[in-house]
């Protein structure tokens, strides 16, 4: 495997309901793919499938190890920022959390319980976790939610560095990140058209 994400004729479901069908794409190292589509189009479903959280109904997903970033950051309110990050780093066999803290400007918050962070600070902690996974492919679901403009730019910088280092990313986002990326409209792959059940006609 050369670190390329290959998806072939993928069909995936959410909670047993088929959402997407016939998705095929390739994503080379160093490239980013932005998923677009209206709410409910299946962006999250596709990301969870790429991350291996939901097994595909059909087709195949092959690629490098994935760091998944969902709507929730998975941080424990009772642990400090540094403790949270250190836990995920250790789980992924990464020793040093300092670069991840620095990348998202979290050094001064390192000893604060994660439960006392603002929404934006919490999101930055969640994004910093991506760096301590050491994984080449990021699958991110609305990563810029609750970030202010300056922090979105900071995230874009981190993302650019990740791509420059040979990493790749699939990102569901409505925000223009200012990072050169391919765009995929997920709505094209809807598995079944929304059915208007007219009852007993």
């Amino acid at each position: 495997m050369n670190g390329e994400l290959v998806i072939e004729d993928l069909a995936c479901a959410r909670g047993g309901v088929p959402v997407l069908a016939g998705v095929s794409l390739r994503l080379a190292p160093g490239r980013a793919l932005v998923l677009r589509g209206p709410n409910g189009a299946g962006k999250t479903t596709l990301l969870r499938c790429i991350a291996g959280l939901a097994p595909p109904l059909a087709g195949r997903v092959e690629g490098p190890p994935v760091a998944y970033g969902g709507h929730a950051d998975g941080m424990k309110a009772q642990l400090t920022v540094a403790e949270n990050l250190r836990f995920w780093a250790a789980l992924h066999g990464v020793a040093d959390i300092a670069p991840a803290l620095a990348a998202f400007g979290l050094e001064r918050l390192a000893d604060r319980p994660a439960g006392l962070l603002s929404a934006g600070q919490g999101r930055r902690l969640g994004l910093a976790r991506l760096l301590v996974t050491g994984r080449p492919l990021w699958a991110l679901d609305e990563p810029t939610v609750s970030l202010d403009t300056a922090r979105v730019a900071q995230f874009a910088d981190v993302l650019r560095a990740h791509l420059a280092g040979g990493g790749s990313a699939v990102i569901a986002s409505h925000v223009e990140l200012g990072v050169e990326a391919d765009v995929l409209d997920v709505a094209r792959f809807r598995a079944v058209a929304p059915v208007d059940d007219g009852g007993f006609a």
Binding site: G15, H71, D73, G74, K76, L79, L91, H92
Partner: protein
């Protein structure tokens, strides 16, 4: 896995983590029983093994619904599922942490409560031994139940209904060890069976629990 185990134990000791909750519950149940049945020492001594084991069982159940539900709510379960440890390992680490935080204090506190329920002296070592051997089964069976209900809101009651019947063998053999210990009879048979239930639960249920989690994550 050790990291996850240590994180869960640390979380239990932090504010709102629930450490001591099960222990407090166990203490109160054991204190309430003499009030309920009256101060008949002979009767108390006879029912003490059953009461102590029932108390331990229910105390164990208290914190089980949080085992995976909290991680599910804050998204950590998704991240653990994509981490480089298998889900089976996640289950083992979390169930082991649950045992250390819940089961182990019960084992240590049981002799004190034995005194309160006028448990005969010869039964004390067997009370501790039976709880030490049996409570791991409670944590691992409970982890399986918790994995099944992880997607259910307010699943605590459902969890009790699922898990309590599965606790029956542990309860029977555990209480039997203490009964026989109190009567001065040989305890090796129920003790061996109790250990067998625990070993079986520890060996097999992480796979079942991980399968249940995978289904619930979809």
């Amino acid at each position: 896995m050790i990291r996850l185990f240590r994180r869960d134990v640390a979380l239990a000791f932090r504010a709102g983590g629930g450490f001591g909750l099960a222990l407090g519950f166990f203490l109160i149940v054991a204190v309430l029983v003499p009030f309920g049945v009256g101060h008949d020492t002979a009767l108390l001594a006879r029912i003490a093994p059953g009461v102590l084991w029932l108390g331990a069982l229910l105390a164990c159940l208290l914190s089980l619904d949080r085992l995976f539900a909290l991680d599910r709510e804050d998204g950590a379960l998704d991240l653990l599922a994509t981490a480089p440890i298998p889900l089976e390992g996640v289950v083992i680490a979390k169930a082991a942490a649950h045992w250390v935080v819940t089961g182990l204090p019960l084992v240590l506190a049981a002799p004190v409560l034995g005194v309160m329920l006028s448990l005969p002296w010869p039964a004390f070592p067997w009370l501790v031994a039976s709880l030490a051997l049996g409570t791991p089964a409670l944590s691992f069976i409970g982890a399986f139940g918790a994995a099944l209900i992880v997607g259910v809101k307010r699943g605590g009651l459902l969890l009790s209904l699922l898990v309590l019947p599965l606790y029956i063998p542990t309860l029977i053999f555990g209480a039997e060890v203490v009964h026989r210990g109190a009567a001065g009879q040989a305890v090796s048979t129920p003790l061996a069976l109790l250990a067998a239930v625990s070993l079986g639960a520890v060996a097999l249920l992480p796979f079942a629990a991980a399968a249940a989690l995978r289904v619930n994550l979809r």
